[in-house]
Symmetry: C2
Subunit: 348 residues, 2 copies
């Protein structure tokens, strides 16, 4: 497969420019572009600039409001309740997490819940903002349905990811995961490639085990640990759908298909100021010791290195910042088409 | 197997009396007894009064301090940093969650982190305290090692459970789970019964798949979703071990075997006042609708009813409160022995 090597700053500038052409402010467009490019840097390409064509269509059709400004509609010493005003999810996420960090500095911790939002990109982006400020960051979002409550074969909850991040003396340690065994993208890919899939990834529409991805792609993803992952997804709906005042799973409109009805996705964010608990200096010394102990444990047969959550992504981010991002031809051409369409110089 | 039917209030009274004989105050002993009996009411017998003999030995040897009084050593508008003073874990948990609820009422949310604590019983007990006050409750604890970081075959993290609970118009909905596929108790039981165990529960000491529980009971439990469950367990250590200023997995002394070194277990607690976000009335109406939708989805073949997290436990609790708790002969006799030893009337 042909690829192009692109520099992250140029890629970010291109995405930013494109989004301003649909009316977004320079600052808001930068926040969105930064989130997408950071996903590509980290190797989470599913949440990177490959989504630009869709984001641009959502802005163009105004199913997402390019000039929406998130507003805090209820505020307490350690809580903000945010109306996302149907802005891009990244704009809502950046607003809410920034405010959480600021208030956590005063109060010890702060929790934010946001409704009237949209797909917010890579969750780790927000939690790492907090970690870089010497805090524990947490966030979660709901999403259109892909998972069934345990015992049911009907999709209801989204693949509702959550992320948590903590500072270290070097880069933050960051978990960013969905409660499903795999992403639906993996099943769609197997169908394209004509491959079988292992039992345990997905069930068919009647709830039977399924190893044929042609059937599986219309089925329901299985949660990790059965009722455990199902419970995590249900509580993410409760936090992001209900507590945040947004829609729940099946009432969220489709990101790829529906350009008429705003999604009304909900998110929650939470920052804890380490200095109000064990103290940052102690924390950094202890986490270095603890992660060091874990990394030097005996390995399973065939394992070269024990990786901490987000460690592979951190290394990839550093390497790609230095050496550029390898971009598949298809994504590169999509961006070239967008640039031509909007009369933006294609300089990546 | 012979069983005895006992009333929960009488069982609680017996456990409370026993613990006061080791110097605990009436109030502290009641908190501990209530947690244990609530686990038996809910059907979580592993965390119920079957542990009384061990708790009493821990009090008697003073490896747990019967008169330890948890203290808030650092406080902010939405945070408390607690020294558990080596009290019973339930005393620390009750203190921290009560204070969280109180401060969340003022500030919107509150987060507590506690060190110098001990095994705190059933996690759901604390989160349901918050749910009954119209809040979202969250808590987690670390524990002696049973899980390896993904890629390693050596135990490091505990089976670190977490719980989250939310109010409904009836009983709270509550998730209480460990990030391992099964509890070590299940493997020990299979070894006792001479049964094979399925692949995917545990690996042997070299990290190889293991279906023989005789070997597996000395191995390492597998996390749900591979690196996902491992990541959850690692972050629980970071929160409960490091942020809370306690010990991490392998540095926690053994609950059943070590009667000389205090455990220094850590916990975190968190309460969010729903009224500062979407509002309690809205929340209760929406959660009723959402849970109702989930319960009426199509079922998988063989499923009679789709249960929400904690729903089975809620029903069991109501039934056992009305009809009594069926207690196995072994546990009944252990309690009788304790009662005789401490000169407490055996009235259950």
């Amino acid at each position: 497969m042909e690829t192009h090597r692109v520099q992250w700053q140029e890629l970010r500038r291109l995405c930013q420019r494109l989004m301003t052409r649909e009316g977004m402010s320079e600052a808001d467009a930068l926040v969105c572009a930064d989130n997408l490019v950071d996903a590509d840097l980290a190797g989470v390409e599913s949440h990177g600039v490959s989504r630009m064509t869709n984001y641009m269509k959502r802005l163009r059709t105004r199913v997402v409001d390019p000039i929406g400004k998130p507003e805090t509609v209820r505020e307490s010493a350690a809580g903000i309740y945010v109306d996302g005003k149907n802005a891009m999810g990244m704009v809502v996420g950046d607003y809410a997490m920034r405010k959480c960090i600021e208030k956590a500095r005063e109060s010890g911790c702060c929790f934010a819940a946001a409704h009237h939002s949209n797909h917010f990109g890579m969750a780790a982006y927000y939690t790492m903002m907090a970690a870089r400020e010497g805090m524990i960051g947490f966030c979660a979002t709901n999403a259109p349905p892909n998972l069934a409550p345990w015992g049911s074969a009907e999709k209801y909850m989204g693949t509702n990811p959550f992320s948590i991040s903590a500072p270290t003396k070097e880069e933050p340690i960051t978990l960013d995961m969905a409660p499903s065994v795999v992403a639906m993208g993996k099943i769609i890919l197997a169908a394209k490639l004509g491959q079988k899939i292992p039992e345990g990834w997905v069930v068919d529409r009647q709830g039977n085990p399924c190893t044929d991805p042609e059937i599986g792609q219309y089925g329901t993803l299985l949660p990790i640990g059965g009722p455990k992952g199902s419970g995590i997804a249900i509580f993410t709906e409760i936090l992001c759908g209900i507590l945040a005042g947004a829609a729940c799973g099946p009432h969220i409109s489709h990101f790829w298909k529906d350009f008429e009805n705003p999604q009304n996705v909900g998110h929650v964010f939470w920052a804890v100021d380490i200095d109000r608990f064990c103290g940052l200096e102690y924390f950094l010394a202890e986490i270095e010791k603890t992660l060091g102990e874990m990394k030097s444990l005996d390995k399973t047969p065939g394992t070269q290195e024990v990786f901490m959550p987000g460690e592979i992504e951190n290394r990839r981010r550093a390497r790609r910042k230095a050496e550029g991002i390898e971009m598949p031809e298809g994504v590169y051409e999509e961006l070239r088409t967008l640039a031509a369409q909007y009369g933006v110089p294609f300089e990546i």
